[in-house]
């Protein structure tokens, strides 16, 4: 069963920033300028990726670049660590590895 696309994070402050448009698995998504990719993705959907060793989805863990739980793929370009990469307009994020990915 696919989880319903509900956001995981809840914005508590700093909501007056400019909107940023990007794509998650081909679906349009919106975020705010200054969001990390982790915040931006989890403000739209509940997870960043699937665990490659278990059945559960993953949504990051340490947010300080130590655990490497939050790497996501792009349609074009290298993988990105979501907790330390800012979201940018037009970015196309994939939560599953692309088929051509080695």
């Amino acid at each position: 069963m696919t989880p319903a696309p509900s956001p995981r994070v809840r914005r508590l402050a700093e909501t007056g920033r400019a909107p940023v448009g990007f794509l998650i698995d081909g679906q349009p998504a919106s975020a705010l300028a200054g969001d990390t990719l982790l915040t931006a993705i989890l403000a739209n959907v509940p997870a960043l990726r699937q665990s490659e060793f278990g059945p559960e989805p993953r949504a990051g863990f340490c947010l300080m670049g130590a655990c490497q739980d939050c790497w996501v793929w792009q349609k074009d370009g290298p993988r990105l660590r979501a907790c330390s990469t800012p979201v940018t307009d037009g970015l196309h994020i994939l939560t599953q590895p692309p088929e051509t990915w080695p």
């Binding site: 069963m1 696919t2 989880p3 319903a4 509900s6 995981r8 994070v9 809840r10 914005r11 508590l12 402050a13 700093e14 909501t15 007056g16 920033r17 400019a18 300028a33 200054g34 969001d35 990390t36 915040t39 989890l42 403000a43 509940p46 997870a47 665990s51 060793f53 278990g54 559960e56 989805p57 993953r58 949504a59 990051g60 863990f61 340490c62 947010l63 300080m64 670049g65 130590a66 655990c67 490497q68 739980d69 790497w71 290298p78 330390s84 800012p86």
Partner: protein, 458 residues
């Protein structure tokens, strides 16, 4: 020719070390993963955020303001070279291998100051691999640097100063905190009180924060398991100090048991380690100023777990040791050495008041995931220790625990307790994981393409 000193880390320790070196006429290079200096506790939001430091750092705002202004000033006046968004991957004969946004770079140095800080110290709870389980540090970073709560309904669990602090900050920001579950008993906390009184004002602030949590706070709990469905966390089951079983619905659990020193670079730089019973982890060996190996000095939580105030002190001390060894004019360390004694008394009080849950770990059910990177369970770890031997590096090689994405940062301490209990040996006898470069993941291209060397023409 003036000596080139490299400082790794731009938190309170790295910033004070840089200031001290600049004071003696040196121009250090400071390498830091953050986009802006500050470290974790004094982490700054990205440009465009508007909450003032008083909102972000509370009572610590003046310290945060001072450190940020000091470092920005040193960089703007050209007295410090700042390599931001740059991760040190390893150390070789040519210097530090640094991964920068534009590729790999070698940073040569004569002396090295390592101020790599700490992460949360984590203990597995059955179900902690679910989406929506975060470290307490992550919970605070999300609020401070992004203005978000990592869920709609939050439970914070574990022990240590951050537990109460983050809960208070979240409530103040309007988050829905369902429970604050402390595995330290009130008896543990009373036993630590004598040490905590070394810094009475800080201890009182903690007591006042705790009071604000009211009925949300529970001491002496046992964390049974985190329940989840296909989306992630749905509830946490726990048992109160008086033995009452509870289930608290939530979609987020923040876990942490104080801090674990980040020591991989110190290890690669040749430092020796001792097992600290106080902190239930391996810590680098150094003299009082932070001298830890030939030309290598350590500072901050990666050396002694004293928190941000202690990091400022040990950052200055490490730079003083470096200046002394270079034969340069060094400030008098006496006042900082005296302050260190008080900070250490307080830190021991913290360690006593909020202990590492060793007994809980040793009794984890076989099905519990210990390594959340690769899903290695307690049962698998125990069976590997049976056939491969009860030694940390052997269990890692044969069973893959501590070999995944986080390189053991979040499971090695729990793994050591499980192995020790299973083999009926002391935890230090399990040994310490060998430090392996790269200490951060690096794309293969960064290694294939030749590195640039800083400070020398290509």
């Amino acid at each position: 020719m003036t000596a080139r000193v490299a400082i790794v880390g731009a938190g309170p320790a790295g910033i004070r070390a840089a200031e001290t070196l600049v004071g003696a006429g040196l121009k250090p290079v400071v390498i830091d993963e953050g986009a802006r200096a500050g470290g974790q506790i004094y982490r700054r939001p990205p440009p465009g955020f508007t909450r003032p430091p008083e909102t972000l750092y509370g009572s610590e705002a003046p310290k945060a303001r001072a450190l940020h202004a000091l470092f920005d000033g040193l960089v703007e006046s050209g007295k410090v070279e700042h390599l931001a968004q740059s991760a040190v991957l390893g150390i070789d004969a040519d210097g530090l291998n640094v991964l920068r946004p534009e590729g790999r770079q070698v940073v040569p140095y004569d002396r090295l100051i390592v101020a790599t800080g700490a992460t949360d110290r984590l203990a597995p709870v059955p179900g902690w691999q679910a989406a929506g389980v975060y470290s307490l540090g992550a919970t605070q970073i999300a609020l401070k640097a992004q203005g978000v709560a990592l869920g709609q309904r939050l439970v914070l669990a574990g022990s240590g100063p951050l537990l109460t602090l983050v809960a208070t900050q979240l409530l103040k920001a309007g988050a829905d905190v369902a429970a604050v579950l402390d595995t330290a008993s009130l008896g543990d906390q009373a036993a630590g009180a004598a040490g905590l009184l070394a810094r009475p004002a800080l201890a009182l602030r903690g007591v006042a924060m705790r009071a604000r949590l009211g009925r949300l706070y529970h001491a002496g709990v046992t964390l049974e398991r985190i329940e989840n469905d296909a989306r992630g966390v749905t509830a946490i089951r726990w048992t109160s100090a008086s033995g009452v079983e509870s289930r608290t619905e939530c979609d987020m659990v923040g876990l942490g048991w104080h801090l674990r020193a980040e020591t991989q670079l110190a290890g690669l730089a040749g430092c020796a380690f001792d097992y600290s019973e106080t902190w239930a982890q391996w810590l680098p060996r150094s003299d009082r100023l932070g001298r830890a190996a030939e030309g290598v000095y350590l500072a901050g939580d990666g050396l002694r777990i004293l928190g941000a105030d202690g990091a400022e002190v040990t950052g200055r001390l490490a730079a003083i040791a470096c200046l002394q060894d270079l034969g340069l004019n060094a400030p008098d360390p006496v006042a900082d050495l005296k302050r260190l004694v008080t900070l250490e008394r307080f830190a021991h009080g913290i360690a006593r008041a909020f202990p590492w849950p060793a007994a809980h770990l040793r009794a984890l059910p076989d099905a519990t995931v210990v390594c959340r990177c690769e899903g290695v369970t307690a049962g698998e770890l125990r069976s590997v220790a049976d056939y491969g031997g009860a030694e940390a590096n052997r269990v890692k090689s044969l069973g893959r625990t501590s070999m995944g994405r986080c390189q053991g940062r979040y499971c090695q301490l729990a793994g050591a307790e499980l192995i020790a209990a299973h083999a009926n040996i002391d935890t230090p006898a399990v040994g310490r994981l060998r430090d392996q470069a790269p200490v951060r993941p690096a794309p293969v291209g960064a290694w294939v393409n030749p590195a640039r060397t800083a400070g020398r023409p290509d």
